[in-house]
Symmetry: C2
Subunit: 267 residues, 2 copies
Amino acid sequence: MEKAETIRYKATIAYDGTNFSGFQIQPNERTVQGEVEKALKTINKDKFIRIHPSGRTDSGVHARAMVFHFDFPRSIPKEGLFRAINVLTPADISLYHLEEVAQDFHARYHAVGKTYTYRVDNQKIRNPFTRNHVLHHPYSMDIERAQLALDVLVGTHDFTSFCSTKTDKEDKVRTIYKATVERDETTQEWVFTFVGNGFLYNMIRIIIGTVLAIADGRREIAIMAEILEAKKRGAAGPTISPKGLYLEEVHYDREKLKTPEKIRDNR
Amino acid sequence: MEKAETIRYKATIAYDGTNFSGFQIQPNERTVQGEVEKALKTINKDKFIRIHPSGRTDSGVHARAMVFHFDFPRSIPKEGLFRAINVLTPADISLYHLEEVAQDFHARYHAVGKTYTYRVDNQKIRNPFTRNHVLHHPYSMDIERAQLALDVLVGTHDFTSFCSTKTDKEDKVRTIYKATVERDETTQEWVFTFVGNGFLYNMIRIIIGTVLAIADGRREIAIMAEILEAKKRGAAGPTISPKGLYLEEVHYDREKLKTPEKIRDNR
């Protein structure tokens, strides 16, 4: 059997979403996909290479580990390709891993789940250094109320109430394996963590908008179950700013996904 | 005795230096002083208020606690003034403290020293989230060599070799009480800390440029004493990027300054 002329690569990148109009390529917009494909085209002697991500992120959303795949000529060695991508992409994108995978690997179809975090600064005075990376929410908040609201979401539910009406997805049933909030002792920020088999359009931003209202006492904890039951976007809280949201990991191992407490150890 | 019509305030602000052309006001440039004075003018019914800083910072240099003083009409209560400044300044400036001080307090003349830090990321792959706040220096480095080089600087010396030739200061003698480098275990960054009675123009950036060359083996440790002795700018290393540099504290208490290990506890 002849060797294929191209190798399929699985790439893991981090990006600061602040100055991007989201991940997905759009005409006349600065996008992560656009910048990566520009770099690959340069490396590939001006021949276009399409990348296939595990999913999209919205304008302003960050990623510590977005995954995509692409096919690239065998003639350029992996190490050189890795370095060239890091040199040719702008400073708000970094390639952390590049792995040769089977020709049938697919970043989106083979993904079994994702981990997202959302960071909230609850201190009175805003921090100028985190203004694009953490939501400043300087109101009195009760972390136990927030956790009780999150607990309602764990499991398999129809998340229509927590999905933007602009979605094109019919099936709104998703499974959340983990939904927690913890204090980061170093930064004093609240860190929300979500592990699930998939997330709908704006889902985490709507969940956070709702949970913050419960945490600061504007809404009752019991409302969370009612919102879920209502299956209407209007029942939930506002879509919060994207700036505190991070795609932390794309999962390809179903067993690890279902025991999310082990995920961090296995990274 | 009649009460003065104005109160003198000591203000402590933090700012992200990335998008400022330094602290000091300049025509047609976005500066920290310019933004603060604009806010004060608005609060003061369109009448200009001059602020007097403890010193300047260059374009791109950050501050966690820059101090300045200004005189403001007694008619506006302190709490309202504090809130109004935070509302009217842009998101890359925050006012953390506002204190009524004696009419003869002077932010610059009464300052007895300063603490600066410089952050270096020594990991192979750049971190997109810290690109404006930490120097990425992905070369093999020996932290013990760096500390030995820093040790040479502690004490009272003529720092001509570590001063930009663009300075207008005649006296280049300064005292450094502390010069250390430590690993920040959370971020894995190297954090250089300098406590001194004053720092010359570009002094810390030239020190870091020199120490990094020693740490990564390009220059010998012994060169540090020779550079100091030479009293020529050309003897030292390059002026490093401002993006890792932070004004951490302005000192007004001479006793605390001389026992710098206590400074952190006293903040």
